[in-house]
Symmetry: C2
Subunit: 459 residues, 2 copies
């Protein structure tokens, strides 16, 4: 028997309920995530070794496994007020369409111009760069959500922003590129002729359309070689999960205010920034033995780092210029097929989430692309929001759980993260609308080729 | 001396503060808008004459100049809850950037997948069609905002939706097209070979890229020739202004709740749907002598129907298949230049707004395109929201008024309508980013060519 919930359709906390501290889930983990390694020495990277690459305060946050709560500076809180709190939406229209006894909620992070949750960490990273007196930051972007978010953050703090955009996206996603330029960023197709690594790759692979790995290498080269610059990254890192905890903290505050008791919390997982941020405070309760939840990471079947990868040390980038991280990985040479969810095409996974998964604290499942777009279309039509393909992975899993509830007559409460909107992904929707979308599942041999690139690390 | 306002940055009313009645400003107008004419008889169109084109209830609303408040059906209120109330945002970041003593607020209607205020009327029109037992509706779309909104509304009520999209937009805006298709609409480039008028135009003008006038003619032909279909329109009509009054009613409720007393209310004006909706309840107070406000309609210098047009009877469409309306018009043959704000490229203006303007109750100004995009870029960088080019006309005027306040040291309160987001308008932003945007002001001779097409009506 379905019990009606006495909650509004959209729960908006007030501005003074925006969290004033981020939550660092590492503080409550018994098994801490493995440290980043210096690939030369195979020793954990020290604070000082990281300073030429990252801003000082971000290095501190990256390495701090102990502090549970970190103050959000007033300037960042000010910016958060522009678009936060984000709504926790009771998916009543979807529930009705599925005829499920489950209660479904989603935390919607797409109502800002960057179109995704990426802004939560972009503004923090830009702030610390500005505070340190830097003049600019560099980064890479693939699908463009992170680059857009960073451009907005840099415009706000009047910082230079150099974005290396994978050449194929630069050409195929001119709208994303123009949003970044409107916010004052310089956007360079990668590989470029501005950097040594870019020139080398262009010489070795004439006509290459680039890769995220190459763009990372270029952005790092420019950051470390330019006075007053540092490099920033939008996912995978511990610091990013810390900033993104604002998603989970708001979700938890809304649940507590309205007596919502989630059983299952679901998020899509590429590098882990959204999922890690959403589940952190709930995971904290589970780690401290206060409550129990099911957490489900959803990844594309075409890039299944958690469900089919290995838990091992690997390079964070294809170009092997970045540190090594212990994570679930398909190998840094693994080339995901042309899956449209650009934000989920990463060979590895956040070390924090990898450790939690390895400890059995979180589940993972992979879903196929056409099933994802079927769920996306249904969701768009009944809930009104056109989801990003990445976010639609979480929708698929939430719908499947809700249908399971219907089958067995259980009244579970499901929360999922709706990380962004799909306005810049209409090429993928077009393929789906035209019936031309295909699925791709790598064979064991495909995966083996990726695993063969794993560094031989014997610690 | 600037007095701080004690209001949150974003004012979100609660869901139970969404208006339950629309407000019909015609009820308070001493000089009613002139009636639509049957071009054959030059007599006012009767209820019965309009029934083959529009849904019954919408005909009633179109002709009703007396009822001040109209109940919003529960089903429409339900849908409104998906994306309303929309926020009234205190533009503190913009105020700071302009260093103005003015208080600036904007009502943001872009936080829904259609990306604009058009959804407010689309859902109402789809509802009345469904309630009447129709199976489908037809419409035309230029830039695509209206077509997108209508597709969403039809998906919600499970109605067929046939959109005739101006061919040049169909080809140049494939993303808009795909959003509509994702919501289940059929989208046909106009002129098509499906209709008599389309075949005629294709035969007479081989290779034509279409026009809004032609798309209207096709949509009307299909609606009137198909059992169970009617035609719907997203602007100009009285019924549309009625539905859009939800914008103004929410704005007024938020002002009253937080003690905000607007001096100036500004909106962009193409056909008048947004401006009419935003100002209606405030205009009602002015008409009843309760309060005074300055209202400013902002139009592009390239299509200046209020500031340089004539107040005369004219056809609503280029193809002369629609009724004649008395309005400020540039003549139905006036061809606006390639101005990027597609939503403002209409030769006429809502009869209601035309009458109010003619009675001196509202001001109008025209602005040039590069100045509009300068304001849009500044706004995006400080307020975080990337505005639609249409909406940016209102931003330009609001910024100019705020700078005037600074010059003369006046602390006015300005509210403007931010009707939508610019995600699908990045081609225009690209031209601006590249310094390739130009301005165009029609000469008197250009205008005369349009005026020459005005029908000779002697009443």
């Amino acid at each position: 028997m379905r019990k009606p919930l006495n909650v509004p359709y959209k729960i908006y906390l007030s501005e003074n309920e925006i969290p004033t501290k981020w939550y660092n889930v590492r503080a409550d983990m018994k098994n801490k995530p493995a440290p980043l390694l210096n690939p030369g020495t195979l020793k954990p990277l020290t604070h000082d070794e990281l300073l030429p690459v990252f801003c000082d305060e971000l290095v501190r946050q990256e390495l701090d496994n102990d502090t549970a709560y970190v103050d959000i500076p007033a300037e960042i809180q000010d910016f958060y007020k522009m678009y936060r709190p984000s709504p926790l939406i009771h998916a009543t229209y979807l529930e009705r369409a599925l005829d499920t006894p489950a209660h479904i909620f989603y935390k919607f992070e797409g109502n800002n111009t960057s179109g995704s949750h990426k802004l939560n960490s972009a503004i923090a990273q830009a702030y610390y760069a500005k505070k340190q007196g830097l003049t600019g930051i560099t980064t890479e972007t693939g699908a463009g959500q992170w680059g857009t978010a960073l451009s907005m953050a840099c415009a706000y703090f009047d910082l230079d922003c150099k974005v290396y955009m994978v050449k194929v996206s630069y050409e195929q996603k001119p709208f994303r590129r123009e949003v970044m330029r409107t916010y004052g960023a310089s956007v360079t197709p990668s590989p470029s002729m501005d950097t040594a690594i870019g020139r080398k790759i262009n010489a070795e692979h004439p006509g290459t359309t680039g890769s995220l790995g190459c763009a990372i290498s270029e952005a790092v080269e420019v950051a470390t070689g330019t006075e007053g610059y540092r490099y920033v990254l939008g996912s995978v890192l511990n610091q990013v999960l810390l900033h993104q905890s604002v998603i989970g903290l708001e979700t938890k505050a809304a649940c507590e205010k309205y007596g919502i008791e989630p059983d299952i919390i679901i998020g899509c997982a590429g590098g882990g920034s959204n999922l890690g941020g959403l589940i952190s405070p709930f995971m904290g309760e589970k780690l401290r033995g206060e409550k129990d939840y099911r957490f489900i990471a959803v990844e594309p079947a075409s890039c299944p780092s958690l469900t089919r990868g290995k838990y091992a040390y690997d390079f964070c980038d294809t170009g092997m210029v970045c540190p090594m991280a212990k994570m679930y990985t398909l190998g840094h040479d693994f080339i995901p097929s042309a899956n449209h969810a650009g934000g989920l095409r990463y060979h590895g996974m956040s070390p924090v989430l990898s450790q939690l998964y390895d400890d059995g604290l979180m589940e993972a499942k992979s879903v196929e692309q056409t099933a994802v777009f079927e769920a996306a279309e249904k969701f768009a039509r009944v809930e009104g929001i056109l989801p990003a393909p990445e976010s639609a992975h979480a929708i698929r899993a939430a719908v499947d759980e809700a249908l399971k509830c219907k089958e067995i007559g259980e009244e579970k409460t499901i929360i999922f993260g709706l990380t962004g909107t799909g306005y810049f992904d209409m090429t993928a929707y077009e393929a789906f609308n035209d019936g031309k979308m295909t699925d791709y599942i790598p064979t064991d041999a495909d995966l083996q080729r990726g695993f063969d690139s794993l560094p031989k690390v014997d610690l």
